[in-house]
Amino acid sequence: MSVQPTALVFGHIELRLAERQLLVHGEPVALGSRGFDLLKALVGKRDRVVGKDELLDEVWPGLVVEENNLQVQISGLRRVLGARAISTVAGLGYRFTLAPGTVEPPRLPGVPPQPAAAQAKARVLVADDNRVNRLLLCRSLELMGHQVSSADNGRQALELLRRQPFELLLLDLAMPELDGFGLLQVRADDAELREVAVIVTSALGGVAPVARCIELGADDFLHKPVDPWLLKARVESSLARKQHRDLQSEALRRLTPGGPAEPSRLADACVLVARLHEPQRSQQTPTDLMELLNSWGTLMFDAIEGRAGEVAQFNGDGLLALFAEPRAAAQAGRDMLELVELFNGQRHAEGQAAIALGIGIARGELIAGSAATARRAAYACVGAPVLSAEQLALACARGGHGLLMDALTRSGLPADMGAAVVNLSPEWVAYRSIQGRA
């Protein structure tokens, strides 16, 4: 006789079906009834993309519900599970992406939940000519759960770096054949090697070697003897920064077919700039503000990706997205305003202040590509529509919550999207998706 599992485990989350309870990293998480039903539906159909209508029918059976309610629930789940747990497939729906674990056996009374699986392993290379230091560093990293290789001189380290993928290099400076400075210099001139994070571990005293290493692009510096706790903190910090850079690079790769290193001229693109108006005014603490920005960002990314747009830049309380045509940009802008309205309703119910969003959309030719120094890279979008969209988003601050677009964008919209357009100037028009809102 087959027995239906009562608990499903996916990496760091556990879904207890009988108790209608979600555990993240072993801790129960408060999830509303709709949120739980939505997660259950996505998990149950995780072998495919689930359409929005199908999810609406399943989570709100017999009710006519606006699609944006679904987006708010999806965003709520992403905040709890992690942004990558649910992917948006533009125009089709959503898909649950976490790999399944095993069904957890019944827990004995009084036995505490086990901690979630350890952080993913990183591939780390230790380059040090001193055997004791090398062994000790390797051991410390292995005990942290990483996959460790070692080299006893700079030349050997360079060969390994070119032959195998590594996330992190722990680099001694004084080494035979090729010293640490030499290896950093080679890395500075090599785009692929620059992808590997570097922590220098050296016995050299003084500030000068530290400064030189930082100038050559090292992420961090540890003086020997290396304290194991400090090593752990610095390694985790460097890997987290690298992961963040990798995510940005991946987004850029998706955005530019030729890859982030190749600049491209977009002859007719729509630039959407969204900016929160002074969000700090409505928050009591820095933590509250960061939570607000996380929630806001998740909703905005959903709205943009749901209309086949790409977020090219994101800086916390503002973002810049690119669209291939005006209709998609205008629809995304409307969705963003409506999502913020729903979000504000939720905040109002929790006794929190509303936030105000300004959106500018402009159309024209722009150049997009990677602008990089040895230490930092960013995706740059340069051109008249970028400046116009930024000005339009800022101009919304004068009129409050809303969306402004330039006349060229407006001219590309179908007639049925022009019902609520207000002329502000010969060049700018305002689009109000929600009647009666100033």
Binding site: V132, L135, L136, P228
Partner: protein, 112 residues
């Protein structure tokens, strides 16, 4: 009376953090590596190569600190500070501390 060559608290902390079996391997590696470092240190002193001399002295110091070999670490620190002009006697003192520390470390590591 001179203090014990090894700070047992530091050594036990190393065993706790890295594993007692691993520390046996680490001590054996140090026993192989350290004489080579001493030869290079004497060579750097003879050549008046201050940078190399200070780096080697610092390496011996950091290895000493890692094992809790406090007297060895202190002797190496003095040489690092003085540079190649420290003199033959100071280098001989370091070599003696190294021998004492290695003997003590091998005894402590085998005790587990």
């Amino acid at each position: 009376m001179s203090p014990s060559p090894i700070d047992t608290h530091s050594f036990e902390a190393l065993q706790a953090n890295a594993g007692a079996d691993f520390v046996v391997t680490l001590v054996a590696a140090f026993a192989e590596e350290a004489p080579r470092l001493m030869v290079e240190l004497r060579r750097a002193a003879a050549a008046a190569d201050a940078e190399r001399f200070e780096t080697l002295a610092h390496t011996l110091k950091s290895n000493g600190v890692a094992f809790g070999a406090t007297r060895l670490a202190e002797a190496a620190r003095r040489l690092e500070w003085q540079g190649p002009s420290a003199g033959v006697a100071a280098i001989a003192d370091l070599a003696a501390e190294l021998d004492t520390a290695l003997a003590a470390l091998q005894t402590l590591a085998r005790r587990e």
